[in-house]
Amino acid sequence: MRIVCPFCGERELGEFTYLGDAKPVRPTADAGEDAVHDYVYLRDNVAGVMSENWYHGGGCRAWLKVTRNTLTHEIAAVEPAAGAGAAKVGA
């Protein structure tokens, strides 16, 4: 698999680390145990197109949101995490 890092260009899988589904959002401080349980433990485990967190740790250290098909491994899109390249926020 090769991932096109939005900062570095296309790179080999070995430079990246996988975390998992990027869809769940960390609950707010007052959300309660059930919401956090669902966030931490439950997964859609999509068979098809899925949005995922990947880390370009062997490269520019950006966290990326990768849209990938879990049936074919084809990657449709890669975008930076909200805080990657944040120096340009508001620019």
């Binding site: 080999e12 068979a47 879990t70 049936l71 491994h73």
Partner: protein
């Protein structure tokens, strides 16, 4: 027909024209007491134990392809009960005891070979962890031995003791561990279950659940029509989330690819099952002569049933680091299975929040060794509606209560288990 050397010899006289099908080719009935989704080892074992132990014979096993086409037919065939945490320890030993009588139970030679499983250690910390685990095993009545370097050298003189990056220091040995012929386990359970009246229905894919007015599951929709069921048990490994989703459930499971490899057949080289402690590599040699080996999962969610090249390299690096004598042995075939990786690395065998639907999942890459035990306790749950005592901790709500069974201590990140 009972299988034996005598029946074989008799059959030879008639040029083997009189052998019957190993299991009946069943057509779906309208309704069964229990429908098992998944014709892998676990599903078939469940059916056999339902019929043989719990007297429930009106059972169907539905398989979307051909039986054993999932992980049961694509693993590295290792059996062992060397677990360290309450919940796992007793369960896997139950399973091991069932392996030890399987062939006589089933009248099928699954080539259960208790050739020993050794986990090598390369540091004091690893030795201490294995001592802890070995003691857990011994306290639970399971055989375990902590070998020092000299004992390991004697048993496996062919490892790299000269210039290893992470020298072997010793190992945790379970002599009763070993291997079994994976396909034969599937066929053996199918053979025996079918003999007791269980219907094994291949090419029958479940496409939905039938629910009654109260929401209880009362059957399944399949590619071969609707099939009624008193209870429905899921044993579909990597497809768990997909099937559960048809009942509106989200599971604490991710599906990941695990690769396995086999080399060309060679004369006996490796006597036992070995796990490298400083990399991702484990190996045994099949009776046919191939080195059967594997390593880590590929690391990302996947349903693709094929592996990547970096992990293949990583596994071979581990192999070469451990025993550079395999450098010229050729890797013959690579394949991939879809693992139902759970959030703590341990399985889930429980009722689901949907009445009538029972779950057997989360085996990570340890499902094969659990096959008989899993079938036994899942049959118990289906028959009695209460967990078997050796599976009492494999609850679905343990993530809510915090009672995880996390052997590796990696937390809710399935690709690290």
């Amino acid at each position: 027909m009972k299988y034996s050397i005598f029946s074989l010899a008799r059959a030879a006289l008639s040029s083997h024209k009189n052998w019957q099908r190993t299991w009946r080719d069943a057509t779906p009935k309208d309704r069964y007491d229990v429908v098992i989704i998944g014709g892998g080892g676990h599903g078939l074992a469940t059916a056999w134990f339902l019929a043989s132990e719990y007297g429930i014979k009106n059972v169907a096993v539905l398989e979307k392809g051909w039986i054993g086409s999932g992980n049961a037919g694509r693993n590295t065939t290792i059996i062992r009960s060397n677990y360290g945490l309450p919940g796992n320890t007793g369960f896997y030993e139950l399973s091991m005891k069932l392996w030890e009588r399987m062939e006589q139970d089933l009248n099928y030679n699954a080539m259960v070979s208790q050739r020993g499983v050794i986990n090598l250690y390369h540091s004091d910390a690893q030795r201490d962890a294995y001592a802890r685990r070995g003691n857990t095993m011994r306290i639970n009545g399971i055989d375990a031995e902590l070998l020092d370097l000299a004992a390991v050298k004697k048993m496996m003189p062919f490892l790299n003791y000269d210039n290893a990056r992470f020298p072997v220091q010793g190992g945790l040995l379970q002599r009763r561990g070993g291997t079994a012929r994976h396909d034969a386990v599937v066929w053996g359970y199918a053979h025996a279950a079918s003999g007791l009246g269980v219907d094994i229905i291949q090419n029958c894919e479940v496409t939905g659940f039938v629910r009654d007015a109260n929401g209880k599951v009362s059957g399944v929709e399949t590619s071969r029509g609707r099939i009624g069921a008193g209870k429905v048990g899921m044993a579909v490994a990597g497809s768990s989330s997909r099937v559960a989703n048809m009942a509106g459930l989200r599971l604490p499971i991710e599906s990941h690819v695990l690769q396995a490899f086999v080399s060309e057949a060679i004369k006996p080289l490796i006597p036992n099952v070995m796990t490298f402690g400083a990399g991702h590599f484990y190996v045994s040699q099949s009776d046919k002569g191939g080195l059967v080996f594997g390593g880590d999962i590929d690391g990302y969610n996947s349903y693709a049933q094929r592996g990547n090249l970096p992990v293949m390299e990583d596994v071979c690096e581990g192999g070469m680091a451990l025993m550079p004598m395999i450098g010229r042995v050729r890797l013959l075939r690579q394949w991939g299975g879809i693992m139902d990786m759970s959030m703590d690395g341990s399985p889930i065998i429980d009722k689901t929040p949907v009445e009538g639907l029972y779950l057997n999942a989360g085996w990570c890459y340890g499902g094969f060794k659990a096959t008989p035990g899993s079938g036994f306790v899942f049959a118990h749950l289906l028959a009695r509606d209460t967990p078997h005592e050796e599976a009492a901790r494999f609850r679905l709500d343990r993530f809510r209560t915090g009672a995880m069974i996390d052997e590796k201590g990696q937390g809710a990140q399935p690709n690290l288990h």
